[in-house]
Symmetry: C2
């Protein structure tokens, strides 16, 4: 099954300061989502010509409890997969918990053996909703 690397997500306390830092390195903003309802922004920045190797900054407008004072805070690795249902079945068959099942045919989260959060996204359009995924509950957090 085809799989593509997409981004590494990091949480940021001050979006403008972080943007300025990655701009100093030469990264460029390629995509930005400001979510009024969820009160968060996602800003994707990549080296020129490497749009699919982004750092995704997650900025929560009302502050972020997940940010320690020293490093080692990390969001997730993200990969695009050819068929998200087949990938999740394959992982389950091998003992991996699907923390956030792909109920929407679009997105799932699992954890590595060290609890590194890994996001899986369906390549292209979301797949049609399908059981057992559509009614599968979340397990733990991710």
């Amino acid at each position: 099954m085809k799989i593509n690397y997409l981004h590494t997500m990091v949480r940021v306390k001050d979006l403008e300061k972080s943007k300025a830092f990655y701009e100093l390195l030469g990264l460029e903003e390629t995509r930005r989502i400001d979510n009024e309802g969820g009160r968060f922004s996602l800003v994707f920045m990549s080296p020129p010509g490497q749009e699919n190797a982004a750092v995704e900054m997650t900025y929560n407008w009302d502050g972020d409890e997940g940010l320690p004072s020293d490093s080692r805070h990390f969001g997730h690795l993200a990969y695009a997969v050819e068929n998200i249902y087949e990938m999740c079945q394959h992982l389950m068959d091998n003992g991996v918990t699907i923390n956030r099942p792909p109920r929407d045919g679009h997105m799932a989260f699992v954890r590595s053996p060290d609890n590194v959060s890994v996001e899986l996204l369906q390549m292209g359009e979301a797949l049609p909703r399908q059981e057992p995924w559509a009614s599968m509950e979340n397990t733990g957090h991710w």
Copy 2:
């Protein structure tokens, strides 16, 4: 200045378990370093055809104090740059601390405003040693 994304580093407690997990996703080992002296292994795994978008697993043979029981542990983002001295000068000029100066003309570490560790590597061969870098002390950790 040209900059290329290289890898995201994560620390792992059990190298074989983590390798098996990323193999389930379809990633392949592209490079491995077993360092007898330092008693650590580095294993790079990428989606096929994306050798420059790797997850780097750092495995310390004698255990790793840096591994919490729950997620959010994270090593660093890594970028290759055209001229590591010019990049570090540019960062310093803009108020960024060079935590690990490029004394060897090859590698430096800085931190984002949220203390995310960022590794900078000289593209290709290391540059000749050069002041003020060659004799610059480390600042803090990274």
